[in-house]
Amino acid sequence: MQAIQRATVIGAGVMGAGIAAQFANAGIPVLLLDIVPEGNPNRNALAEGAIAKMLKTEPAPFMSARAAKLVTAGNIEDHLAQIAESQWIIEAVIERLDVKQALYRKIDAVRKPGTAVSSNTSTIPLALLTEGQSAAFQRDFLITHFFNPPRYMRLLEIVTGPKTDAALADAVAAVADVKLGKSIVRCKDSPGFIANRLGVYWLQVGVIEAIDAGLTVEEADAVIGKPLGIPKTGVFGLIDLVGLDLMPHINASLSKALPPTDAFHTANRDLPLIKKMIADGYTGRKGKGGFYRLNRTGGGKAKEAIDLVTGEYRPEHKADLPELAGAAKNLRGLLTSKSKIGRYAWRVVAQTLAYAASLVPEAADDIPAIDEAMRLGYNWRAGPFELIDQLGVDWFIEHLEAAGLPVPALLRAAKGKSFYRLADGQRQYLGTDGQYHELRRPEGVLMLEDIKRVSKPVLKNASASVWDIGDGVLCFEFTSKSNSLDESIMSLLGKTIALVQSKYKALVIYNEGSNFSVGANLGLAIFAANIAAWSEIEKLIAAGQQVYKSLKYASFPVVSAPSGMALGGGCEILLHSDAVQAHAESYIGLVECGVGVIPGWGGCKEMLSRWTTSGTLPHGPMPAPTKVFETVSTATVAKSAAEARDLLYLRPHDGITMNRYRLLADAKALALRLVPNYAPPKPVELKLPGAAGKLAFTLAAESFRRRGIATTHDMVVADELAGVLSGGPADLVDIVTEDQILGLERAAFMRLMKTKGTLARIEHMLVTGKPLRN
């Protein structure tokens, strides 16, 4: 297969359109085709409608408005010939074998041989799909099973047949990995592949066991959630998210395809309650609600849950279960608890993990594939075999036997061992041959967790560690709670700068937490404020300013590599880096105003510099401060790395990595590219409007206040921000230095910290995790 210049997706349903959007997000032009709708004069109405709908969907399928322009809408009657220009054609039409096969014949007639054709089927075996198709088609065909929503779900299951061209499948996998950012799990051509097969079984068991045990949905979700490292949606919440109506379809297709001996059948019980809910339109979040709903009658928003016995909604009760205290660390304790809750936990976990063990080698060649599928397909923190290792293989076998449950052969073969082990720092897994095999990362993947397993930190304190990631590059890792920034991080960063200067070539700032950093440690700030330790707060602000400035002007390149949220001080560290290699799913923003302060670690200064030198704004003292005022006063967070570029949180030369696993390697490579002839940036000299500009910002804020958009304390914060961004006492003929702006930032920050409104905001954020609109 040639490099992908263009792709086609046929079928503009939620999945097909979402897959097309992800190609567009990767910068690949994509043709999105659907049938010609009857009675509609617009023959492209279905694909056009899907694109328009996606532009309004939250969470957004597109990473930027620009990406949406890369999708061309069409229909299969007028535009099928255009697929000849695509190197990868994805079919995502209705799950009907006859429809798919007929479409394949049409595709085969117009596509160029050697171009990949894949199906997004979730239920139909490849062997059936390719039956009767040309030899060339069978050679170029595979299944690529995306998960919903395609932008956000990292899992991609790939199924190849005996006739599939292996090199072509590898090329498709490589594009899906590097360009679309997916983690590839190779599956066998067995029903439901891996994630749906096991996931649906797990959910089904979770539901029927809860009904049998007389648990409420809240109780069930509390058990099959956090203690197991499973998202808090648990079982019922997840079904609401996926859609209740989808379950019977998948159940029916699995039921038809799986042999009668498969454990799936025992879990596939007819549930009248679910049938009735679907019939009544309670299909989950997309419908009127599901097991949970928001009751808006009377204008309110009452959270309700369904009673599994009566089928009536009642107010939601947060489950308060003593069994769950410490359960995450003592899973065995939970599973052996004799209470109703303990028995439920055991029944669900035991059957699910045993079923997982029964799927190797039928559905997957090895156990890592199953674990990865569950981690990425369902956001489990640990896969089923990792969970079995936590329990102990022997313990699990013993308890399965005691409960009279079957022990799968793979599990029995592992007796006396664990499914994973470390050997010389390398992670190994137990193969079906009874031997351990090295767990290899795909080429070009560098994970800090692997480095940490085999080495000791070069520097370390309570909030951060520094690792040698080879080739003269150090990696600075935050290790504090939520990677919040504190004095320890600033101090270690200072030491790291000195160390790199003397012994290394470059620094990468990166970690593998779910968020790069949520900003400064507000708990510490409020503590200091409560005891009026103002000088301590000011010292921390000054220290942060100093360290970030040293980072910017260090004699070596600094590359930051965020993924997830990079907020407040976490964003400011990016702003002071020479370059950023951002994961596509980075959510970057200066959100300080939301908690009643202003960016105090050079965020105002850097944003002013960036907009002033961007070359995209009209000349004069106002445009740059205006842009920054708009972005910062509203605490705007970019919803993707692509969007962060529009806000100049990222610059044009900053890189974007689609696959999370490849982020560190890409960041390191970028840092090394900057090493030859590296020279620190020159300070930017700004001309700012002074009081004249501040007045314009104040008037703008006041108009927002009148419109009911800005709150009373927003006005106080906006006034301080306006003062900093307009350059304080500056006259527009003066040059304002970076240090002068840092001084303004510091003074404004301190004044705000002493206001009641700001302290109330910080406290509220710490308690609720949400901004206070006071």
């Binding site: 009209p618 000349h619 007045l695 314009a696 008037l699 419109r707």
Partner: protein
Amino acid sequence: MKNVVIAGYVRSPFTLAHKGALARVRPDDIAAQVVAALVARTRVNPDDIEDLIVGCAFPEGEQGLNVARLIGLLAGLPQSVGGLTVNRFCGSSMQSVHIAAGQIQLGAGEVFIAAGIESMSRIPMSGFNPLLNPALQAKVPAAYIGMGDTAENVAKKWSISRVEQEAFAVRSQQRAAAAVQAGHFVAELVPIAAKSGSVDADGCLRPDTSAAGLAQLKPAFNESGTVTAGTSSPLTDGAAAVLVCSEDYAQKHGLTPLARIRSVAVAGCAPEIMGIGPVAATRKALQRANLEIGAIDVVELNEAFASQALACARDLGLRDETINIDGGAIAIGHPLGATGARIVGKAASLLQRTGGRYALATQCIGGGQGIATILERI
């Protein structure tokens, strides 16, 4: 004194700022096409034109420098024709007409083009670098007041209810829609070349507007206010131009004069109620023309906001049937610098169409002013 006449009127389509068809066209390019069309349609001898006077509320960026001169060159006017850019905010191009009239009566020329331009897509309201004087703000707190806030002030002070404003907005939309249907805009519209093709139709009109629909909108400027986006003129791109010459010249050179300028006036008022500006200006103009308001058959009263238009109509005692016969700025749009030329041209052509004798064109101006022109049919 010489009589001065309006002897031609054209305009570009008015389209919504940012999303309309002219958003990607430079304002000088729009204006140049309008000016060239005015010359072609009136068949005035371009060598006779003394000056091109262009009104513009934010004369910077692509409508900066001395944009009038540049528009003249772009339009292919002879290099002997002058170029003057005028700023009286929304009253800019009506002021262009007044300057032309004054020059003619002074004997400083026979033929002028009075035009106006504004791209609100490409040059933001307040311009790129609004540098306000804090001392003035302290002295006159409303000096920099936002236009929406003045509309709220007028609504409150003149007790113009939201329902009345919305009824007025619906009326404006319906009259504009009827005018489109009847082809009343055909003669005045100049198609504008854009990269995406020729733009030949107005883009702001919302003929389906209903009172019920407007009632759903949130207040645009004050959460407890009555002014909404539906009762305000939209941000608009567009240009307009009129040919102003002495009556003698028109007769001698076979031009078709539409109306004679009887009087003009400007007047200041409090900045926080700038929308009432037309009242004082109109009264002055009427006095100068020695006319009573009852003599006016055709009124072009700019609809910056429904609240201020209604307040002015009430204070001046205007008859409803005379006001904005083909709809106003709420429906058609309000490209700040271009509106004055549009409503003077429109009033002149309406005198011809309706057979009325006197027309009034008047508008409010940010900062607290009004401007008015009284015309007489020829």
